[in-house]
Symmetry: C2
Subunit: 212 residues, 2 copies
């Protein structure tokens, strides 16, 4: 039952999508995902940053992290990502909804041992979260790569869901003099705030407001 609700959606069938382009665009816009796994028959989940390249989703963590220890065993995971675009305000509470784009991925982690690929992943992730920043930063050190575990997840058993547009009020509610529409939700980056060490250091171009 439940499994099919994700990959063979029932009620939400008209909102389900399987095309890679849409799935990749959601994964590339979202900075954080929630990774769920099973431990002693109980569910555990944790939010974490991630980056996609080709058909793989990558996360990283400390070699001392219990969460990473568990995932590097290759246990089954469910990774979910959600972007909220608008609150959908109908004339009845029952018809309220949310405009969103989400991805659910079933996979299992593969520990990346190749230092060059680990290095690349950390560059991809850093440049995803702060675009064009990697080349500006103090270069990564080999021991920092050694202290980091990188896991890759194949993006195969995956689906996206999305709702867009205006409310779908019941026919009998449509004539009511009750305001209906959407309230767009925007997630934005504010102006950078320097720490005490950086009061006299010019803001680099890639961090200037409007550069991203």
């Amino acid at each position: 039952m439940a499994p099919q609700s994700h990959l063979i959606p029932s009620r939400g069938a008209k909102r389900a999508h399987y095309d890679k382009e849409m799935i990749h665009s959601i994964l590339d816009e979202a900075l954080f995902c929630t990774i769920s796994y099973v431990f002693e028959n109980k569910p555990f989940s944790i939010p974490t940053a991630f980056v996609r390249r080709e058909n793989k989703l990558y996360i990283h963590g400390s070699v001392g992290s219990h969460f990473i220890w568990e995932l590097e065993k290759g246990v089954p995971v469910c990774i979910s990502v959600m972007l909220v675009d608008a609150l959908v305000v109908a004339k009845s509470a029952f018809s309220h909804s949310v405009n969103y784009r989400s991805v659910v991925l079933f996979s299992q982690g593969e520990k990346i041992e190749d230092p060059a690929l680990k290095w690349n992943m950390l560059e991809w992730l850093t440049n995803k979260i702060v675009p064009n920043s990697w080349d500006y930063l103090r270069p990564m050190k080999e021991n920092e790569v050694r202290k980091t575990t990188v896991l890759a997840f194949d993006i195969d058993e995956v689906s996206a869901k999305a709702r867009t547009g205006m409310p779908n009020d019941e026919e009998e509610d449509k004539p009511l003099p009750v305001w209906s529409g959407i309230i767009p939700i925007e997630t934005s980056r504010r102006d950078p705030v320097p720490d005490e060490l950086s009061r006299n250091i010019p803001l680099p171009e890639h961090l200037m407001p409007g550069s991203k």
Copy 2:
């Protein structure tokens, strides 16, 4: 191993909190959570809206939803919530971080049968997502309540984690002429956009920009 990483944090111990006030404030600010559960030994997770009252977290869904059918059995769930406050930009990629507030809750669903409590929950949820809107909307109908399943989860086995403040660069990196600080992340509601049915209906006061 993994379980303790949430309720008895190891590496992240200094970021863990158990006080109800902090946990409740995060749950009351976030509109969406991710609920994970186990089905045939595999993890499943789904994002959904929720509302907290006293020591319970409530979700709702269609009586026809496979996801809800599974959770109403009372299977163990892990509910996670994350609010992102800022990207923490250090002088090295390795010291980059995120300012966030998160909650992880272990619980199991209890199906609410009392129509009055279901009604209340739908009012709380509607007013959480669109403050002060319930009394303005077309009143809920009894058959709409019947078509909705409401589940309650006790908030007992729960912890919050948060990071605040500026980067923690390595001592040897502090003198570097590399900009460090934070990039605040803001999630905001934009001006409401009416649908075609509402072009001549005045925007109610509770939806006016600045009212929330």
